[in-house]
C-alpha cells in the first residue's frame, strides 16, 4: 500500500507561472517531509523539507505547505523556469526512523516548464 502518493504523473506550466505539485500521505506517524528533484540520468537531489511543527517553509522560489489534518503537502514554485523541468519526488519519515534514516518516497511528478 502506497503510504506517500503523488497522484499527478505529470504537470506542464508556462515559464513565469506558478507550478504546484501535490503529495498525499496516509501514515499519521509521518512528521518530516522532503522534496527531491531529479534530472534525467542523474540522482535525486534534495530541494526543501518541512517538519510537522510547521505549516510552511520557504526557500527562494520554492515553498512547501503542509496540511496535517488533510495529510497533504504541496510544493509551489514561483516563478517557474525552464530549468525547473524535472521529476519531483515527495518523501516522508516518521519518528521511529530516526535510527535508520529511512524515507518513504512517492511515485514522482514530471514537471515541464515551457518557455
Amino acid at each position: 500500500d502506497q503510504q506517500v502518493k503523488q497522484n499527478s504523473p505529470s504537470l506542464s506550466v508556462q515559464e513565469g507561472r506558478i507550478s504546484i505539485l501535490n503529495c498525499d500521505y496516509t501514515n499519521s506517524m509521518f512528521d518530516y517531509f522532503l522534496w527531491y528533484k531529479k534530472y534525467p540520468a542523474e540522482g535525486p537531489t534534495f530541494l526543501i523539507s518541512i517538519s510537522s511543527i510547521k505549516d510552511k517553509n520557504e526557500d527562494g522560489r520554492f515553498t512547501v505547505f503542509l496540511n496535517k489534518s488533510a495529510k497533504h503537502l504541496s510544493l509551489h514554485i514561483v516563478p517557474s523556469q525552464p530549468g525547473d523541468s524535472a521529476v519531483y519526488f515527495c518523501a516522508a519519515s516518521d519518528r521511529g526512523s530516526s535510527n535508520t534514516g529511512k524515507l518513504i518516497f512517492g511515485q514522482g511528478t514530471t514537471l515541464q516548464v515551457k518557455p
Partner: protein
Amino acid sequence: NAGVTQTPKFRVLKTGQSMTLLCAQDMNHEYMYWYRQDPGMGLRLIHYSVGEGTTAKGEVPDGYNVSRLKKQNFLLGLESAAPSQTSVYFCASIPGAQRGTQYFGPGTRLLVL
C-alpha cells in the same frame, strides 16, 4: 569530494546471470541505502546499512543481497537476474542517525533480457 559514486553506469544482463553493483561514498557516512526506481513506482528501498558490517532489508529485498565490508562501500548483488529486475538503481547515504537529506549517486541502469 566525489560524493556518492556508482559502478557501472549501465549494464545489460541475460536472465540467470549474476552481477554486483558497487556504491562508494567519500563523505565518511555511516548509513547507506539501495533503491530501485521504476516508472509509476517511485523510489523503493531494497536494502540498507546503518554501519560497517550491518545490513537490513527494505521494502523490496527479494532477489537481492548486499554487503557492507567497508564503511565507504555498499555492494548490491543479483544472484540470478530476472527481467523484473530491469530498473534504475540508486545508492544513497547519510552521515548517521538523523532524519532528512539523503545524498544520492547518479544511478545504474540495468536491463535484464
